[in-house]
Amino acid sequence: MTTETLWTLATVLVFPGGLFALVLGLALKGVERRAIARLQRRIGPPLVQPFYDLLKLMRKRTLIPDTANAFVFLAVPVAGLASMAVAAGMIPIAGFFEPSPLLGNLVVLFYLISIPAVSLMLAGSASGSPYGAIGFSREMAIVLAYEGPILLSLVSVALYAGALTGQPVLLNLTEIVRYQQQHGAFLFDPWMWPALLTYLCFIPANLGIAPFDIPEAESEILEGPLVEYSGPPLGLMKMMSVTKAVVVLGLGIALFFPNGPAGLAGLLVFIIKCLVLVLAVSLLKAAVGRMRIDQAVLFYLKWPELLGFAGLALAIARF
């Protein structure tokens, strides 16, 4: 193995993928639970509660239902977590970290981001539980609804950055970040606002946050796809979802507002941006109830889709 391969492996397993993304994700989850508790005027769990929960799950027994397909049931959490570790390794942190070009570009990242949703669907259908099946169908519906807008948003950014740098399309995330470092963030560019709004709409649906936590609605379908999981596989599923939060927030930061100072301060600025996003998301979660699946699908096919097309039109108009 060459040093480059080893370095790429380290970015996937330790920083910023794997270990770092997991720890940051768990910490953000703790902040979210605490913030919601404070918004409801209660004390709330300690900030490290998600770490306790994860360690606790490692002590519990693993039960596999008779009706489940055991191989798929146990393989799916591993696949989901692995894809998220790779995706986290592909997120650049301005001034601090540039991902290895070996891992691929924005298109690969887009596919990796949809793998957790596929894992949840497979988990729900492989568990053999009717609640899992309902969760599966709801997850499928909402993925089909938000996948269009997020693709439009990513393509708009790639086309826009391409137009500004004189290429047909710029799919390299590192270069998108570098361009914004030199010429100012897309957050402050009105041409990019529709794409930014589309991305913001995509965050709650992908992370399963109210009002779009329909596939995992714990009070009506008992966490849907996760209903039959217990012990370490459930822990892997939780790890997948917190790492996914880091990937999705990190990608949003890289696409629209990556600017930060060089060195360790850049990492600090990145974490602060994540915290601000998580606090906004907690406010949303504490403020609203859950939609029905048909309302959510209709919402995504209407407004974010429209915004996405507007963003795409603006990006093309810039050529």
Binding site: A37, Y52, R59, S230
Partner: protein, 142 residues
Amino acid sequence: MDFLSKAARKSPWLYRINAGSCNGCDVELATTACIPRYDVERLGCQYCGSPKHADIVLITGPLTARVKDKVLRVYDEIPDPKVTVAIGVCPISGGVFRESYAIEGPIDRYLPVDVNVPGCPPRPQAIIEGIAKAIEIWAKRA
């Protein structure tokens, strides 16, 4: 292992089983011990929908004949280690339903009960104290 069990005692997840209760205790549990005013989440607790995620199981009701098999099946689906808390007088004595032909209880004929919170229904503060006692037992088992 010691480190893991220290972390585990701070993360007891709760699950409710209604064994034919009149809903009085369930209302106290679900709408009183769960709402922001009486915050059990500060003890690390979290209500979970699936029995497979649970650590501490809260049972209400006198165990009616119709519901007995279902309760035992759901109880078996909770992975070990687990702690059982009986809420209200019904699970222990049958309460106002005792000596009825439709009652299979008391519940400790079928399940090991660790903590009982008496009352008809118990106050939310009492339920939270019961959960706190259950957490002490959970800390020894986890």
